[in-house]
Amino acid sequence: MSNEFYQLKVNGVEHHVRDSWIGESLLYVLRERLGLPGSKGACEQGECGSCTVYIDSKPVCSCLVLAASAQDSDIATIEGLQDDGSLTDVQQAFIDCGAVQCGFCTPGLVMSIHHLLDTHPTPSPQQIKESISGNICRCTGYGRIFDAVETVVHRRGTPE
């Protein structure tokens, strides 16, 4: 559509974005141009959190970010959480606690919860609720997700 050319640093790797339309969101570029479909689009308005990524270590809704404006930033996506293919403790707890149903909200929630626990290692129930209140889950009613967060906190506090 046009001949834009810019670079994005995603999960530590520099990507060249070519021949793109300048109006593309970061979510679109990640999913459709860079082969990183783990971030999901569900509302395009920053209401549901399914597209949560980190820009310079802060969680953002990638649907609200113009891709070209994220040059010179460190972008991290769900695909970059573990580079050896193993599961993070949050991901493992989601499986163990039954926090996954359809799974569409899951990558965004995993990103939000990692950020919560990085900044608040022992969150109160209210902090847990508030920190994921920007991530809508339509399947679980959130109960198993709260359980997963509490499980991670517990496991981190009791080293094997």
């Binding site: 479909p37 989601f94 359809c102 959130y142 709260f146």
Partner: protein, 754 residues
């Protein structure tokens, strides 16, 4: 001697983990919106801006000239049937001469980029002759109202007359109830990838759907192809809740792919999704209960009016579910019920979790509270006095043969402790209004409310919604094949658990979910654990029988003496034992099984007949804090006990219960598609509010496990009941706190404080 430290085998009854869990938490699971193909184009849809208009002219020439556009198609380009539908075929693939709802598809395009699509859609010029929409379902019923369809506005009328219609009671209570239009609001919007075959005489469609074979049939008819020419593959499904039972973009994507001879990806955005699928029917229900002075129901009179919107979808079945559940889970010997489902120029409505019973339950539970008030009985007590038991008759004359532990459900729920009173220094996030800092604890009143429900499971009225599964065993590994849509509910987990239990294997592979096997029926009506579970169970049992024969031949043992114990085949009368892996290392055993439920009947003109297969029951008690001055609410606790037959995966059951409660909470206090003069006012997640983590109440759930003898695995479906009676329970709690009758849901602030 057995090793007691052996790793847990994830058989039936355990919390087996999901086979797709790791892929989902890592973002590697391929949802239908994640599909991609070389040389792919994007498809998009032009929709009507009017609720009702004649199409005078469509000019696509400017759009066709836009660089990057490959084709623009209208109704003239549909080669087969111009209309489709689940029950009656009344919905146009693309509007021909008339549009009947805002958002109806008029034209479709294929282009190289979603932005090209958007620009091209703006270049299509449609001349409309705008008409006054029919938006009042009462008006739709009148004979003087002009029909918006050739066959009229009434989709279906059903009357039920049961027992003695002349009976009256000492206590008479009545109400007129309004239930709003709810959206399924699955997170993964409609999406498909259609890949045309090389010769142009076949097509492969990857799509998120609830029922692959029904889609295949409808798509084939519209494309003028045979079903076998269409290979449907389940694309990863981001939730369904009924909204994927009707087809949406399937035919459109196929038409564009066949025309351009290139793969087509279509994906709705959130706004388009609100227009792209059917919703829960808004309903007006009048009910009058006659009871004696002890609160025992003598007769029910009711009138149901379901607004089906512009097209029929499943309205006729939703209506039947509504009227046949009018009594709720209570004995009632006499009834006169009339129900109507009508067409209007409002958004089309169809399947959503609960399917007509949600609406009925809101009315009958509101009525039970009125009986309690009139007889000065406790709301739980009046329900206990009327509680249905196994062997009781419904107002359709059908005898409830399912396990029906209604009394036990209520009593167990009563025993769940109530939450602590609201603290004077409660965190603001625990108050109605939350971080808006609107409420103060001293202004808040707390209410408690009850809801109990009965829900049919499986399809009704003579429909044989069978399910098919194949099991193949070799070298200690079982492979299962079925066309059952996994929409997040966890059937894939249950299927593996069944195979492990029956065959003694640990390793159970799941073949692609597609149309290369017989139908599984729809993932709806809480039916897949029973139906597809029954099919997988049947196929595994046939395989086990043949394995026993094989082992019997090889080792000279009567196969009838063989049983599976953990991972081994054991001679029940001797010492012989062999591992399933060893026993199956040199064979490939494959068997297919169709599970059919018992036949049902259509209703007669008086609404009598054995129209349903089986029933599940649930009780809910809600505790809600209300700021009466500001009309703000916060649901504090839901206590629930559910009749599940047998919990095949207890963790999954809890997930269904908590998720269903959240959706029922949404209908109670926040979720409504607001429609004015046929126009949807809030098609976004900014304006259509969904429960967030901060809205989630404490849920305390108990299960009643009394295996149902009719069910292949003893297990009832658990998906729908959680969302049904929680809504009236919450609204009852609000009524109690506020001290006024609130006859509608969702309850809005103005219903409380103005």
């Amino acid at each position: 001697m057995k090793d007691v430290l052996t790793q847990e085998r994830f058989v039936l009854g355990t919390n087996a983990p999901r086979p797709d869990g790791a892929a989902k938490v890592k973002g590697e699971f391929a949802f239908s919106s994640d599909m991609w193909a070389d040389n792919m184009l994007w498809g998009a849809t032009l929709r009507s801006p009017h609720p009702y208009a004649a199409i005078v002219k469509i000019d696509t020439s400017l759009a066709e000239q836009l660089p990057g556009v490959f084709c623009v198609l209208t109704a003239q380009d549909v080669p087969g049937d111009l209309t489709y539908g689940l029950i009656s075929c009344d919905q146009p693939v693309l509007a021909d001469s008339v549009v009947r709802y805002m958002g109806e598809p008029v034209a479709i395009i294929a282009a190289d980029h979603p932005e090209t699509c958007r620009r091209a859609l703006e270049l299509i010029s449609v001349t409309y002759d705008v008409k006054t929409p029919l938006v009042d379902p009462e008006e739709a019923l009148l004979e003087t109202t002009a029909p918006i369809h050739p066959d009229g506005n009434v989709i279906r009328h059903q009357r039920i007359v049961h027992g003695n219609p002349e009976v009256t009671g000492d206590i008479v209570v009545e109400g007129l109830y309004d239930i709003g239009m709810q959206d399924q609001a699955f997170l993964g919007t409609e999406a498909a990838l259609a890949i045309p075959g090389a010769g142009g005489d076949s097509i492969e469609i990857h799509v998120a759907t609830q029922w692959l074979h029904e889609d295949q049939k409808q798509i084939a008819a519209c494309l003028n192809m045979q079903p076998e020419q269409i290979h449907l593959v389940l694309g990863g499904v981001g939730g369904a809740f009924g909204a994927r039972e009707d087809i949406s973009l399937q035919v459109h994507a196929a038409l564009l792919a066949l025309r351009t001879k290139r793969p087509i990806k279509m994906q709705y955005g959130r706004e388009e999704s609100f227009f792209g699928h059917v919703h829960r029917h808004p309903a007006k229900i009048w009910m009058r209960h006659h009871a004696d002075t002890d609160g025992i129901i003598q007769k029910i009179e009711a009138r149901f009016l379901f607004d089906g919107g512009a097209y029929a979808s499943t309205s006729s079945a939703v209506l039947i579910n509504g009227v046949t559940h009018a009594q709720g889970p209570y004995r009632c010997d006499n009834a006169v019920v009339d129900g109507y489902a009508v067409r209007t120029n409002n958004p089309p409505c169809g399947a959503m979790r609960g399917f007509g019973v949600v609406q009925a339950c809101f009315a009958h539970e509101s009525q039970m509270d009125k009986i309690a008030d009139a007889t000065q009985l406790d709301p739980a007590e009046v329900r206990l006095r009327n509680a249905m038991q196994r062997g009781d008759r419904l107002i359709t004359g059908q005898v409830v043969e399912s396990v029906a532990p209604v009394r036990e459900l209520i009593e167990q729920t009563q025993h769940i402790p109530l939450p602590a009173p609201l603290a004077h220094d409660a965190d603001v996030l625990d108050l109605p209004g939350g971080s808006g800092l609107a409420s103060a604890p001293q202004h808040i009143k707390r209410g408690v409310g009850w809801g109990v429900s009965i829900k049919n499971i499986m399809y009704s009225e003579g429909f044989d919604d069978y399910s098919t599964a194949r099991c193949t065993l070799s070298q200690g590994q079982a492979t299962l094949k079925f066309a059952t849509s996994e929409v997040g509910q966890g059937f894939v987990t249950i299927a593996q658990q069944i195979a492990r239990s029956i065959l003694g294997v640990d390793d159970v592979a799941l073949d692609t979910i597609d149309t290369k096997i017989g139908s599984a029926g729809s993932t709806s009506a809480s039916r897949q654990t029973w139906m597809s579970g029954g099919a997988v169970d049947g196929a595994c049992r046939l395989v086990r029988e043949r394995l026993f024969e094989h082992v019997g031949r090889q080792h000279g043992i009567d196969p009838l003496r063989l049983v599976v114990e953990d991972n081994e085949i054991v001679d029940s009368l001797g010492d012989f034992r062999i591992s399933v892996a060893d026993a199956s290392h040199d064979v490939v055993i494959s068997e297919e099984f169709e599970h059919h439920h018992r036949p049902t009947e259509e209703l007669d003109e008086n609404g009598q007949g054995n129209c349903h297969v089986a029933f599940a029951f649930v009780a809910h008690r809600a505790v809600v804090d209300v700021d009466v001055d500001l009309g703000l609410v916060k649901v504090i606790q839901i206590a629930t006990t559910q009749d599940v037959g047998r919990a095949l995966n207890p963790l999954s059951v809890i997930g269904q219960i908590e998720g269903g409660i959240a959706q029922g909470l949404g209908l109670a206090v926040m979720e409504e598609i607001v429609v004015k003069e046929g126009r949807v006012m809030n098609p976004s997640f900014t304006d259509y509010l969904l429960p967030t983590a901060l809205d989630a109440p404490e849920v305390i759930a108990r299960l009643v496990e009394e295996p149902d003898p009719q069910a292949p695995l003893g297990a009832k479906g658990v998906g729908e009941p959680p969302c049904i009676s929680v809504t009236p329970a919450i609204v009852a709690a609000i009524r109690q706190a506020v001290g006024r009758d609130i006859p509608r849901c969702p309850v809005r602030p103005q219903d409380i404080c103005l």
